[in-house]
């Protein structure tokens, strides 16, 4: 380019005229603008592709002609509300009508916008009473608010004639949980509590086939379960999303820190034993076929500052059970250290062990048959479990090469042949909506969830009491 331009400029300078912005200059100046047009075209193509995928999911979730459409509202649009929403968007026959969250600046806006992308025309509300007043067509409300709000929210929704899916823990107090059961009975509406493993096909398979039908574990004597999580910084909020103090107080929070981290505060949540342990201790009672008779527990704030984390970050609890087959003990531990080994439940019987987790990644379902137990060939043939994995180490232990009095021969290793490809909460929500349509029975109705609340809330009590506490059979009755 140098030659022509330089000559022209030299000529301009020599004549003393201002440099002219001729057509040629302008064209050169605009020469890369079409690239922006090309970008816009490519981006639109990409967006259309993404939108088509969203619509594909929405279309799959559309009610077939013979399926009654259910009008629903989400009450509590935080992290858990989002998880439930994502799962519900995949369930056919649901029509979102409203989203209610007091964090209108962030949570409510986010979920309303994401639902609109899926062609659900929803109204946003700050006050759930206004929502119940205005949204007359609602069939069901999905509650994912902080635990201390569950009782009032669930009761008011039930009394307004709505079916309710309420996240666990049913309530942070037994009085609250009892009042929910009473309201459910009084109104006759459905109430499902979000212990979602109760509808997980792998857990159902293990309960129905492996434990009830085949009794493959023999007599279960001990249970061990855990949920390890890494330490994380407290949740915060940037200034532009901070809720005004008056509104925080109106809804029971002293400040934004408490609003974001309510699970750690007494009177609001129950700490990790409730947030995490409740899911798994629920399975102990379900699989053992009985509620615990005693609990002892130790816990404390080993990592966090008790001023901002009133509940215990580390809890170890031991339950006693009188099962129909004899006494059993269940140990449960939740640690806030790091997330290695994740979460699982491990049921050990005199004939075998079942290691199970909701996670599809770790410990999804393994079975171990004790070498002295009856053969499992029949159950393998029926598809209850996989054929045993061939193990080199086991061959050695069976031949006596490494086994001595201290060591038992290695058990056979099998897997549970059931996986869940959908979001973890989807089957439980599906079960709720099937029940609303009258085609299924709830997998975790109010009374059932109440018993779990009794067993779990007692752990915090036992830590405070520093002693072994007894349950009376009537404690589990409402």
């Amino acid at each position: 380019m140098a030659g022509d331009d330089e000559k022209r400029k030299a000529a301009q300078a020599a004549s003393g005229e201002p440099r002219k912005l001729d057509r040629r200059e302008v064209l050169k100046g605009l020469s890369t603008v079409p690239a922006l047009g090309l970008f816009a075209y490519a981006w639109q193509t990409q967006r259309a592709f993404q939108q088509a995928r969203v619509e594909e999911i929405a279309a799959a979730a559309q009610a077939p002609a013979d399926l009654q459409e259910i009008n629903i509202a989400l009450l509590g649009a935080g992290a858990q509300g989002q998880v439930l929403t994502d799962a519900m968007l995949r369930i056919p026959g649901l029509r979102f009508r409203a989203v209610c969250d007091v964090w209108t600046e962030y949570n409510q806006k986010r979920v309303v916008n994401s639902l609109k992308r899926f062609k659900h025309e929803v109204n946003g509300y700050e006050d759930y009473r206004e929502m119940l007043d205005k949204e007359k067509d609602l069939d069901a409300v999905i509650i994912a608010t902080p635990d201390f709000w569950h009782a009032q929210h669930a009761i008011d929704c039930l009394k307004a004639g709505k079916h309710v899916y309420c996240e666990k823990e049913m309530s942070n107090t037994l009085e609250g949980a009892r009042s929910i059961v009473a309201a459910q009975r009084e109104t006759g509406k459905l109430l499902q509590v979000g212990h979602q493993r109760r509808s997980n096909p792998r857990y159902l398979h293990c309960y129905n086939k492996i434990l009830q039908d085949a009794k493959m574990l023999g007599r279960i004597v001990t249970v061990y379960g855990q949920w390890n999580r890494g330490v994380t910084p407290d949740l915060g909020a940037p200034d532009r999303y901070v809720i005004p103090e008056a509104r925080l107080k109106q809804y029971g929070f002293k400040d934004m820190h408490q609003f974001r981290n309510w699970r750690w505060y007494k009177g609001k949540g129950g700490g990790p034993i409730v947030d995490l342990g409740s899911h798994q201790i629920d399975i102990y009672s379900w699989f053992l076929g009985t509620n615990p008779s005693h609990v002892m527990a130790s816990g404390g704030n080993l990592y966090y500052d008790p001023k901002t984390h009133e509940w215990y970050d580390t809890v170890m609890a031991v339950y006693d059970y009188d099962t129909p087959l004899g006494p059993a003990k269940g140990y449960y531990s939740t640690q806030t250290t790091n997330g290695s080994q994740g979460y699982f439940e491990n049921f050990m019987g005199d004939q075998g062990t079942l290691l199970i987790s909701e996670s599809e990644v770790n410990f999804a379902g393994q079975l171990y048959r004790d070498p002295n137990a009856p053969a499992w060939d029949e159950w393998i043939q029926k598809g209850y479990v996989s054929a045993p994995k061939e193990q080199e180490a086991k061959a050695k232990s069976d031949s006596g090469a490494i086994a001595d009095v201290r060591e038992s021969a290695a058990p056979d290793q099998h897997t549970v042949p059931v996986t869940l490809r959908d979001p973890y909460h989807q089957p439980h929500l599906q079960n709720f909506f099937d029940a609303v349509r009258g085609t299924a029975k709830l997998n975790c109705p109010a009374e059932e969830a109440y018993q779990t609340a009794v067993a779990v809330l007692k752990v915090n009590e036992a830590i405070e009491a520093k002693s072994r506490l007894a349950f009376k059979p009537e404690d589990f009755k409402v």
């Binding site: 380019m1 890369t32 970008f39 940037p238």
Partner: protein
């Protein structure tokens, strides 16, 4: 003007480079802006190297993190548009270098660091961030916007005005 020292074909190649880098910046920005949940927190929490403490501090402070997210999303988008148009090219190139330098320093591929998140290539000190950073340096130094870009028009207008003012 440095461009005078380069051949026309070299300047065309550098313009193509500028548009391509601009495209990448623009889409990185737009993809983040249109994602409902994008945040730089994860990238900064995994930070290694001499500035790790700084990046982790930003990630742990909600207000700083929010500002960082906004600056990153809008900054990448604006730099991308400017580079593609060749408008304020040198300013855009410097801003782009600034962004990439921060990305590079946050998780540098230095000897002895073992990252658990898989990357699409194999890097030793030099990674694609550094390559893009150098590309922006070339764009900055050769003033590619004056060759083919809106800077050429602005430059023409600017010169005409000053000449007229002093005439």
């Amino acid at each position: 003007m440095e461009e005078a020292k380069l051949s026309r074909s070299a300047m065309i190649a550098i313009t193509v480079l500028r548009v391509i880098v601009g495209w990448h910046f623009l889409y990185e920005g737009i993809a983040k802006l249109t994602s409902s949940s994008w945040s730089a927190a994860g990238y900064m929490r995994a930070s290694r190297g001499p500035f790790a403490a700084f990046f982790k501090w930003i990630a742990s402070n909600p207000q700083m993190l929010d500002n960082t997210n906004l600056i990153t999303m809008y900054g990448l988008t604006i730099v991308g548009v400017l580079l593609m148009l060749g408008l304020f090219t040198r300013l855009a190139a410097i801003a782009g270098i600034g962004f990439i330098l921060l990305f590079y320093l946050c998780n540098p591929p230095f000897v002895g660091y073992f990252y658990s998140i898989p990357t699409e290539g194999s890097y030793l000190i030099v990674n694609k961030n550094l390559v893009e950073l150098c590309a922006l340096a070339v764009i900055f130094l050769t003033r590619s916007g004056l060759f083919a870009g809106l800077d050429r028009i602005l430059h023409g207008l600017f010169f005409r005005r000053t000449r007229l003012a002093t005439a």
